[in-house]
Symmetry: D2
Subunit: 337 residues, 4 copies
């Protein structure tokens, strides 16, 4: 049993509190938040929890082995650095940091002190993404040739980052996790349709990611859609997969469809054949992703091995987001990673 | 009653033959195709039609007032020029030409001779697009702020143009027609995933169109999708519209949703409110678009007025496609129109 | 603030505990269940609650003003009678009792003692059903002419009642509530496809309810469907409504469709015209039905007025279920109510 | 090559004309219809066809080997009898006749003269129904335990039969074809919601069919639904199948779900387990059903073997419809076949 402290108990922090509280491998020692009201609400539900408005209490507490941070991105670096310097393992809300330099510093610090950093890309732990990973690794799809994601809804605006930094981390982390390919460059276009004072945060954006092996990925995110869409198409040379996260069942469909070039003459004549066969939808388990992640974080610390959403993977996501912002500034021009 | 000749009777040419044949305002005099087999098939259905493998017969026929051309894009310019020089009105399959220079020459020629050019952007004549145009003009959506289209399927490859030139003309013509806004620049990314000999035609592509007034449009096209998707989201400042052309009914849905900034303090605090209300789906007529277009082409010639898909509108589409190809070559960099 | 005790804390009882616990108008004094394990689980969540395996403690407690019963149907009568005799208001899980005779006895007892009986037809309190009621009362649909419900899934079998008594109470209570019409007779067919020892409980059944004014209702329920369907079609003379409870949004759709008989000659020729117009989907609130019901139960007791799901309405549901069972025994023959 | 004549060229007759005209095995000699206007329309499309308003010409024509009849049900018996007496093979629109007595007389006549009767239950020839038949025969579903069909829409009223005789023949013929089980009795309820003069034709009806082996089938048909639904659930002891004919793809879904009773104790305790696994949707061919049927009718005559929708199968459908009408008259009481 390990002892944990949590910093930040807003919307997502509450989920962390519930899951660490219910876990058999964690002992939730202390919760910190700047806002006493948030702490009071937590106390009502879990009367025996210790709360504080001073994060330093957590850093200073020698019984705490790990700290989970669920605060706005801008504060991630300082809080995580503080925790690492106090020799605590760190669980950080995504995205990891505001830029790669910060990420690199945290990773180095953790490495030096043999500490685990887990970036909370919860989506990676869902039964659907685990199943997709399994399908791709089995070779069922053949070689992945493109990844096309749409993640739009009428969402609450994030105040400190644009829509790419808010929504695309899901897709980028999924993309990296399931394909395990090396991204080469990115292009991003977008717009700040609702402008607020001095801030010009894009609320709609389109990201293309080019890979060294010719694979292409596209991510369409916006906060201004009347309908909620959560769809990823993953095309392989043998079969193609559609993941629709809005469906209550049959979220993953594998289509026995592909393009076939029979022989050289076909190529010369460009007579392309489409093979079109059955569709198959695998059953998914009903495990809660966050619960799973909480257990695996514990295991990673115990075994001294990185989680599947470790600091390095979180840094890869930040690197792409950083380049995407750069491309936005350059009106969509290619930015090599 | 006007006399027409048709050049090209492949897949789409057959639809033209049927519609001009059945029209009360057109007399289908002659059909030309290089392939005698195609002509024989037509003769079986319509035994009284005159056919020829020599297009010059149509140009030379003084009884023919208009010529419809349904051949590959590469041949559009020469055939249309020949028809215009023979003083025939011209109906051209989309896209109009291979580039803007060709389009400009045809437009000039037609203007000099007082001839009508109609570009067959059939989609514009569908009850759905006509209804969307009507809705936008009524002010029901407020100001259009973005347009996001997805048009993907497992389609037969086009042999002479990439997927942008094959599929995006639909979306670009719809976008121009319904918003009536001035595009400023484009970005295009994409990939040729299946390469054929020397040709490197993109089979997946993503196009961003930026408008002078800040509106943004995005078009996602590919020939390699396991599922057929035909969806356009049009967001306005007051309401938002989703058009799903794959639905058998309720193709258009208008959502009483929008973003509201109440006052200056809201802007300062970035407290954005989402208004979320009812949804409304208008009934659509069941008129055949092509039949409608055939009648309006007749009317345009009689009245000497341009069609809603005239040469100029077709030229605007080509201009954007041309710039998109340029952006593809420049790895997605912005190309100003 | 009123004091309540709850008997039975299985699946549904847990929801009652949570809602009465969180209510500002209720003080949850005591919980009874035969099974000490269930009580222990509750204690873990709500450590300050008093629990007992002896229901008589609740009846004997003079501080308790109302008792909520969430036990199997067979025990409803005795427990409710005990509560009423102890001068407690009663909240009963649906269906009210095993037969009309029991229901009548409870209703009489409550009337004599000026006590409120609320039957927990929770569905009636959902925003969707409240909206449908509002739409019908506004006259928007015209006169309701038929009601057709399908409620099927792969569900856990109920042990003591057949599928009609398990699933159809939802539909019957909705039907009675929204149409306010007088049912005249019922026909029921069905089958016990999986037979268990001596018990022959129908796991698939079809119920027709005939009304005195010619309206017809049909309810299709089964526990053996691979897909979960929750659809009700309500046709009116002016418009028609479809309620699909499985949708995450747009659960209610109102179709501007109807049948029109223009004049006497039309009738002679039976030239019926269908009017087919727009579709409209009203926004729904996100209130939790059970929370609403808990508050309205409190209000009913305070004001001495019946709830909208009072004992009489619960008795009407039982009467139809009783007749349905009779019809099943008579191989589907009509049973007059 | 066989010679055929067609009687009746309304909506469906037109499809027959087109298919027999295009077939390589049929020579369409003559078409008869009471209405000269209908014949004129046909002549416009197929200028070389012989037409007549006198059906006797077809009976008298010694070159005609088969006659297809696509007229209202009431005229089927006389026309088919005339054709058989003239030694022509007969193709009859569904349902075969107005009652079993008529059907029996036609079947006897055909048997005596070695003539083929084909009842045009076109649905049986669709790739979907052929695939379902194949799936059931493969044993993939286990034993079929129930069949539940819904076939509703806002349809043009039939003038001479009720909704059961109009829509249910599809479901009954499918049910008989795919399960090959012996129906024992029927119950039917329904209503004539729009009454026309003297006629009281049910426009909404619910049919239960009980089989000797305990299987149960239910068919829900109506002409007054705002939405078009065409769904059949077929539950087997091993797997369950859903057929949704309104979908453009994935019309058939096979769910790896079933109910399992592990051992006697389970039965005693009624501890039922649901097995829930993957879903699979087979690809379907795109053959036109009517074209297939036209070829198989030719083959049946050549080989002297019955079609899969022969007179006997058509008679079985009429028998059930007849009994359904009887049950409607008896207010839903069971009518043994």
């Amino acid at each position: 049993m390990l002892n944990i402290g949590i910093i930040g108990c807003g919307y997502w922090g509450n989920h962390l509190v519930r899951n660490f509280y219910q876990s058999e491998h964690w002992n939730l020692l202390q919760i910190a938040d700047k806002d006493q009201n948030q702490l009071d609400k937590i106390k009502k539900q879990f009367s025996n929890l210790h709360t504080t408005t001073n994060v330093d209490e957590l850093f200073a507490n020698p019984d705490i082995q790990a700290i989970a941070i669920a605060t706005p991105v801008a504060s991630h670096f300082d809080l995580a650095k503080g925790a690492l310097l106090a020799n605590k393992h760190v669980w950080l809300e995504k995205p990891l940091t505001l830029n790669t330099a910060q990420a690199d510093e945290l990773l180095l610090l953790a490495k030096d002190r043999n500490l685990i950093i887990n970036v909370d890309h919860t989506f990676i732990y869902t039964p659907a993404i685990q199943k997709i990973k399994e399908i791709i690794e089995s070779g069922e799809l053949g070689e992945v040739i493109y990844f096309d994601s749409m993640r739009v809804n009428l969402g609450l605006f994030q105040h400190d980052v644009n829509v790419l930094w808010d929504l695309a981390p899901h897709d980028i982390s999924i993309l990296n996790y399931i394909t395990n390919k090396k991204p080469y460059s990115v292009n991003a276009t977008g717009k700040s349709l609702y402008k607020f004072g001095e801030l010009q945060l894009e609320d709609i954006a389109f990201l293309t990611i080019n890979f060294t092996d010719g694979t292409i990925a596209h991510i369409n995110v916006n906060w201004l859609s009347p309908v909620k869409i959560r769809t990823i198409i993953i095309a392989g040379t043998k079969r193609m997969l559609v993941f629709d996260d809005m469906l209550q069942s049959e979220k993953i469909k594998i289509y026995d469809k592909s393009v076939e070039l029979k022989n050289k003459e076909d190529i010369y004549n460009m007579l392309v054949q489409y093979r079109s066969g059955d569709m198959h939808s695998p059953a998914l388990s009903t495990k809660e992703a966050l619960k799973e992640e909480v257990e695996l974080f514990h295991l990673a610390i115990i075994n001294g091995k990185p989680t599947i959403t470790d600091g390095a993977s979180g840094r890869d996501v930040v690197r792409i987001l950083e380049a995407a912002n750069e491309s936005l500034k350059q009106n969509g021009a290619e930015v090599v990673l």
